[in-house]
Amino acid sequence: MNADWINTLEALTVVALVTILTRSLPFWFFGGKKELPDTVSYLGAVLPAAIMIILVVFCLRNTGLTVYPFGLPELLSVAVVITVHRFRKNVFLSIIAGTGLYMVLTRTLFMIVS
């Protein structure tokens, strides 16, 4: 029991430290400098747009495209988020509409019988 306790603490500490490492790397590299290198401040301005769209793909990465329902619930829900956000520009509403539809679709039309 005692050994278990120490193992868990060690594992948690490692995960926490490595996570902190990944988050702080750019600050270790560039945070100490008075003037940011040109390329870094340029990347700071243009990279977020690229990263955000990669994150969307990342969130949808486990969608099964080759098996039923072929990613249809995801596709329809993404379409609803885009449409609602395009016309109402309300983040809250867009999330509720998309997530609501997704939850309904995966429970009814596209329910995977297990």
Binding site: A11, T19, L21, S94
Partner: protein
Amino acid sequence: MKSFIFAFKQAIPVFFPYLFIGIAFGVLMDEAGYSAGWSLLSGVFIYAGSMQIVMVSLLTAGASLGTIALMTFFVNARHIFYGIAFIEQFRKTGRKYPYMIVTLTDEVYSILCSIDYPDGVDVRQTDFYITLILHLVWILSCLTGALFGQLIPYDLAGIEFSATAFFITVCMNQWQSMDSHLPAIIGLISALSFYFILGPSQFILPALVVSVLVLIMMKSRSNNQKKNGSLDLEADLIERAEEISYEC
């Protein structure tokens, strides 16, 4: 106070994914036989949703510390690219600087890069409040899952889509506020290409690295063409830099 209310409003959309993922993590920990204290500690000191969930399976599998370190690095490596946009902004936060760095999650990152600060709101205070509020929501969610997760009578499956939905709205807001859509297009193309080449579990790092490289190449090309007038991208960069210095 105005800054706090504004910060709270910005943070609300992320409450859903945080609650869901946090509770899911707490339930998994509880089912694996770890007491609520461990979930609490993870929420406070790790604060990384997908990694915490991966950690549960590593714990139950009895993985070695080396494996755990490597796994954590690969699951969270995307974070290396996040700080680049906030070096200047966070440096001005003084004592809060280290805290702002270690709490830069996917969701905090996406809020901070699409936020539009109104007049009379303190940029540094707002960033800090958003970070703090969401950290607390996360900690509470992990703890709730561990303590009461088994009691929740509803099946919440699918609510994780709220994170995707939120990121899509951030993309759309950025799309409208940026003069150049090239960075987003480059990101999408590289993400999809690597997704189809390498599959769902390995595509994100190459996609990020290639996007960075392509964007840097575009910059050096635009520098060469500078004599012919500045490109959209640079105009946008200068505009944003001015905006930030004005607000601080």
